[in-house]
Symmetry: D2
Subunit: 323 residues, 4 copies
């Protein structure tokens, strides 16, 4: 293998740059050329390639976002456009790909392999931590700490005013972010899609707390929660408990940005190195993840289709920690 390409795709996540840096430097270390593809599959179709040097990734390990940019690309579902993308890769001399992203990213890579035989290794880049085959995804720890910092701030004002706050966090249909920042933030209740809860449960918790001396409460709601989003649940709670001063805060896109945490920089670096080394060893159609602190390659098929379980025992913790 003489030349590879690296790109980021899907929602951006802190640590993607650290991963790009690791891919570039590892390739150069092994004497392989690297190009970056801007805006993921969009750039592959447009032929938006940039040569990467050691210098071009210098001082990016701590930068949020992705210097290679990311974009949606619906056209890539059409084999006609995948052909265009593939032809651009061939023209550029690209013999292997490192794809940093999530489910959609890996699905695209699988199709590209199936259709045209270009090998790809993926690195799990998403704040949601919802990929099977790795304990942590790149960006998750940073997003959790960003949300936690926000919850700490909200608790300041909640305590000062004896208020109840429903805080909505990201995570698509997974409760990983909600669970971590909820436990870390001392939330009185954490609502995640993986654990059936009813509005009555929520109201009962707030009610029992409200009988003590006017307490503050934090309820963390995962965005994919089935019984509704934070505004909806808060509205129901207000109706049932008119004496409580109930507010809502949707943390939103701040959770995607910021300088990556130590863990995100380190796992991004390790996964990036493993991706390039995997390509050199002939691996293909797999994601480089970390399980029990060891690099593990998981097929894209499993990474996409198998369900990563949230440890709902953690919910028991919440009950104990609020006794």
């Amino acid at each position: 293998m003489k030349k590879i390409a690296v790109f980021t795709s899907g929602g951006d996540a802190p640590g993607m740059n650290a991963c790009v840096r690791a891919v570039v430097r590892t390739a150069l270390y092994h004497g392989i050329e690297v190009v970056g593809i801007r805006r993921g599959y969009r750039g592959m179709i447009d032929g938006d390639f940039v040569p990467m040097t050691s210098y071009s990734v210098s001082n990016i390990i701590g930068q949020g976002g992705t210097i290679l940019k990311s974009a949606r690309c619906d056209e890539f579902r059409d084999i006609k456009w995948r052909k265009v993308a593939y032809d651009n890769c061939v023209k550029e001399g690209i013999e292997g790909l490192v794809a940093i992203g999530g489910n959609g990213t890996f699905t695209g890579a699988e199709l590209l392999m199936e259709n045209f035989g270009i090998p790809t290794i993926g690195c799990p880049g998403t704040i949601d931590n919802d990929l099977y085959g790795t304990d942590y995804t790149i960006g998750f720890d940073t997003a959790v700490n960003t949300a936690l910092d926000a919850i700490d701030k909200i608790r300041d004002t909640a305590s000062s005013h004896d208020r109840v706050f429903f805080v909505e966090v990201m995570g698509r249909d997974a409760g990983f972010i909600a669970m971590q920042c909820g436990i870390g933030g001392g939330a009185e209740k954490i609502l995640v899609p993986e654990n059936p809860d009813s509005i009555d449960d929520v109201i009962a918790t707030l009610k029992s707390g409200g009988e003590n001396e006017k307490p503050s409460h934090i309820v963390v709601v995962a965005e994919g929660e089935e019984i509704g989003n934070a505004h909806f649940i808060a509205q129901k709670a207000k109706e049932a408990l008119p004496n409580l001063d109930i507010r809502v805060s949707n943390l939103g896109h701040i959770q995607r940005g910021g300088s990556p945490s130590a863990i995100d920089r380190i796992i991004a670096s390790r996964m990036g190195i493993a991706a390039v080394e995997g390509l050199l060893e002939g691996k293909n159609n797999v994601m480089s993840g970390i399980i029990d602190d060891k690099i593990v390659y998981t097929s894209f098929n499993d990474a996409i289709n198998k369900k990563k379980a949230l440890d709902v025992d953690l919910i028991k913790m919440v009950k104990i920690l609020n006794s």
Copy 2:
């Protein structure tokens, strides 16, 4: 004067604790007893007084929120309840008050003086910076930096995806927070109530930017903006510019919390000292503010009724800085 009381009232702001600490320590330094009143006027009516010692304010200078808590108290508008509050103060031996808060707080103190003659000095505690008689209010600098940090994070993801973000910040009907964090965050446009802007202006700015190579944009919207809130304006922009990827983030209550910045701790300390020393010098019905780095006492009447001007020349800066 042998005994005074201190309380916080209205929306909480980072630095209120630093101010409480300064009031308590200054009183003790001058040989005066101090009690804290919990939950502002609510606690004055309820007789919720706590004796304050040097130790009870130790290590709070860096804490967000207010250890004395805050609350709304509609009853205080009724002289009957003010009488109850006053009687409680007399029973406790309180001869003067330090009120940390904003407009509503000072209005209450004025009435208390008018009705019963108990002297109050105010300290401007509000993140909004909308009080006449002081360059900065306690909490403003922290809120601006919190909002700025959020905007920096949002820019990471905006840049990665070439998106436009409408970011709504606090400030009630004043644009101080929006202006500071907008300039500091490199916003392409800042919408404040003090400066008439139309949706067409916003669209024109985004359009001219959008014609360059798919740029990201940040538009900061003050919550009191007359043409509508961030969601409303974003909706209009989406209709007019369907090719742009437009998102909204409402920063919400995180702006009220967090450990106060250096400036907020220092001005809170200075204003707290000045409030107690003002009481000792016989001052009354005034707010201790800082203008041009000097302590200035302004009558509650002026502080409440005069309009503090936002320097709209700063808006010209935005235009220059985005050229």
Copy 3:
């Protein structure tokens, strides 16, 4: 078991308070009384016990330091004083202990058990991460992120002036902090006690870097590094490479403080719960750690005497990532 005690001992670490909170709330959840012992073994000898309620640990999950304080206590090595401590515990009705700390803390607990039969379970609280029987110790992740943040700041000025910085970080005789913040901070070289390096190696690395266009460099030095501390090594490097602008920064005690990270709050909570539940199940003389994300109890003997290996393969990463 009707009553237990909890204490913190040895060097303080961020997350100790989260652990104290978990111990207290778990005990209360199981209907057990809890007292806190102030200043570890010192307080046990002095009988400095404070009853703990759910309220007394409220809002401490995010606080640095330890509300129970910590202290050295050389007297505890003498059985005479351990007898005094034990008698105080008996008088207080304490039937079990949770000890949050490191090696020295667990050694004391072992002796107490051996002499008087009072059961203890330990929680690994130290920023150094040098305890066998757990992947992470409480405080480690926070200390790493604090050091990383400092390195990021130092890199700003190093880059601006083309300087080389030797940054000394904590870790006693272990290189865990150095390795994590070195990789996360993009350090060009990381010196840890576990990996023999010579001053010549350091000079060779700096020399090869210095031949490129006046670069900046970060060299992270663990405090226990055998070839000498950061000042000593920097001095040698200056002598060998007089053209480089070499500076030293010893990060010092900032690494012990600050609000704990999400991971530290969560592992502290999990370990604290496990400690109390372990006591209830009759466990004794063991530390509750987390290995591969599962609670594991390790005998104090092993935790103290077995050597936790630093993955020196990570050092290879440094070489690759700087190519």
Copy 4:
């Protein structure tokens, strides 16, 4: 004026990039070309010029350090080398300069004007805040907040162990940083060059505190303090008060780095705009500062030679706030 140059010189300071951005964008706004000179006077001698576009300063407003780099340049004291520098400027078509830096920077500019008549306007870029003619220098507020954050962390561990910490902060021979972060950090004593203090004073303060229940103490020492540095003073205190557990932390170069605070970004932007507009109005040999929130131009001569007074009344505050 058709073309100007901008450079940074002397010690780097957070916000220098925000100032560079403002200079570049303001020049372009007025139809003037801009080049950046890398490494200050060093680059002027070497002819190290880079053309600046609006894009080349995009997303740097929040970056620490200086993208134009900085360096010492002793040769510039020699008119022979200043001639070389001047000739390079002429060759490049540069008709005016914006110099971001401190005393040394402005001295160089004065000489360049005197010898060859090239006009310069300065922007005060130094964390030390020791320049006459401006209330704040660029980088000061960020450095204070960085030092304050470190002091908060140190207090966590000081409180946990009842320790006394001597914390040394930057500021050369001025006590501005020490004073601000000392008051903000609740320091029990602040030693600044502007206020004569003796070691006996320090010992007396620690002694009176030490008689209360084993308290923690923070003493902030400005690096230029005449009675000696933090290590020296701490050593004397240890000898006099052997029962206290006294430690030293020298915060060092972290104070120079990091993303600039809101205030630093805003004043840097305002001063940068004012520098370019000043050049266009024919101003010369002056520094653009901000006094009482208004742009004021001060001659280099005054900025360099007049002494900016530290408000030593603030020291009285420290005494009151620790009562």
